[in-house]
Symmetry: C2
Amino acid sequence: MKQLTIQSSSHAYDVIIGAGLRKKLSQKLGKSYKKILIVTDSKVSSLYLEDVKAGLPDHENLSHVIVPAGEASKSMEQYSRLLDKCIEEQLDRSSLIVGLGGGMVGDLAGFVASTYLRGVDFLQMPTTILAHDSSVGGKVAINHEQGKNLIGSFYSPVQVIYDTDTLRTLPDSEVRSGYGEVVKHALLSDMDWVKEVLSEDFSELSYSQLGDHLLAGIKVKASIVEEDEKEHGVRRHLNLGHTLAHALESDLGYGEITHGEAVAIGIFFAMKVSEKVLESTLPVDAYSAWLKTNEYPVEKLSNLNPERLVNRMKWDKKTIEDRIHFVLLKGVGSPAVVPIPEDDLVNHLKEFIEEVIQIDERD
Amino acid sequence: MKQLTIQSSSHAYDVIIGAGLRKKLSQKLGKSYKKILIVTDSKVSSLYLEDVKAGLPDHENLSHVIVPAGEASKSMEQYSRLLDKCIEEQLDRSSLIVGLGGGMVGDLAGFVASTYLRGVDFLQMPTTILAHDSSVGGKVAINHEQGKNLIGSFYSPVQVIYDTDTLRTLPDSEVRSGYGEVVKHALLSDMDWVKEVLSEDFSELSYSQLGDHLLAGIKVKASIVEEDEKEHGVRRHLNLGHTLAHALESDLGYGEITHGEAVAIGIFFAMKVSEKVLESTLPVDAYSAWLKTNEYPVEKLSNLNPERLVNRMKWDKKTIEDRIHFVLLKGVGSPAVVPIPEDDLVNHLKEFIEEVIQIDERD
């Protein structure tokens, strides 16, 4: 079992990582709760909901609600439905909401917890690799049809309890997705760790090593959000790869590519642009080979329109300006936010798409 | 012009009180904003919206949205509609939302501002006496059909700009409503101020004195919320009169009695119970006479069922317990939170209703 304490602007909370923790929730809870509501999704519920319930003592005051699996549940409709459920179960200010699932469940349940009775305790139980990123840092949100995460709060959990056993049931695309954020945290950190991640072939993944990577990723994220929770400064570095990723996700249509797969491709783009704009020296070839080995879906770039992608990026940044602020790398462990004029960005993207597709077709 | 700085957990903000301020907003803004959205209601818009817009410079990036007047607009439906409007107007993180109106508008617009893009700047322009209370302290919320303010945030404005001219158009019931919170702040403060308020006949109200009362009320509220923003301790004292008030409002049906009228009656009850339970010496007769002079609608108590009111109080407290925690007065300026068993409370209420109706019928 591994443990880490994170300081948010309002309180400190522990992240606990280990095998089998889902069955021992009552031992791990920081205090006793009169009522507990578990929020989960239709996929995770069939796998782990009963284990989690069995690991909690007082069944009388324990309830659950299941939302459909998939990003579409981060909606105003499900948000409103979950609030109705909180009221129906008469959760009060000394109640707990548990988010059992991936990033979608965490974001949705966290937003409910942040606004029900102006805030009740929220416990994250991530069940994906990707959620090592979203479960830490206090960003919770739902989507609007015009864009992702447009409605939300900054609201930190009281605990994050991460059962690594739940990662064994992840499909390949979800492992790739999770490692999109792991490799980002490595690139924001140091070369030794980058080398270690880029040597990974996911088909031979060791779950003990995965636990180490999750902890290391959470440490990187935690140190950044502790310094800048509200994203006025260094937290923007965590957007490495995300500006293109969000544009890819919305342009391809949600569900066509996982978030972390899109991030991994977005990072590849950011590395290429860094070489051109900042003359950085980066492990681009090793990165390209890693994408290939692990079957990241770079071929999905082939039919995309660079101008349209750049238009999507403008709205995504939540700040409307003529130049788009991009996170680039001066080197491994050395990010920089660089404003790039729209036209330049379109050209960079055209070149990138051509190069990547050539590499992909060559083999 | 009067000014006061309030320290919230996240930032300090100014409250500015004066005649005609609604026409000079651009002079008062703390910084420049690329886009401004004014949220107001159907009553206030016809009186003051054009003045406020004329006092702002860049009409191109200025928009407004009008919700129906009345508590019913603090709904999930209007919340969702306002978020759509924010997106339609492409408000970004450097935009401002202005709440122009009474407590309903402030609570609704504030909740939108607190959750749009995880929080944008919010400026309160209260147009009622009552809103001197709600515009300070950072509580924003919408209602659920099961209860008031069940969905919301703690989110402080960047400024409160209070044009006392807008109070001249208030109907009598709204003046009574506002003074329900003013007299509460006086009772939590000192006897001199209590005497001053209880000598007021609203039909002869001086607007300069009213400005002083608003400032004094805001000072009381500010000093309490600065000490305890999240209501773990002394902030509960601000609930003086509110436990019965919320029960009255929901039992009579929203719109049948204004919030502050219900608070004034709730305070009368709390004073009576304080005399019995704590043997306090309080200006109960002067208070009773003041309610009478200013036509507070105490007769509405006559057909109410004490048991049903107590049941409503239990849910209102947002903490389900066997005993209801009531704010009582050991004396003027000396509140105390006292747990009262349900049965006792029912008996106190029975006696109170009988007494009050007798007083009312006697004259």
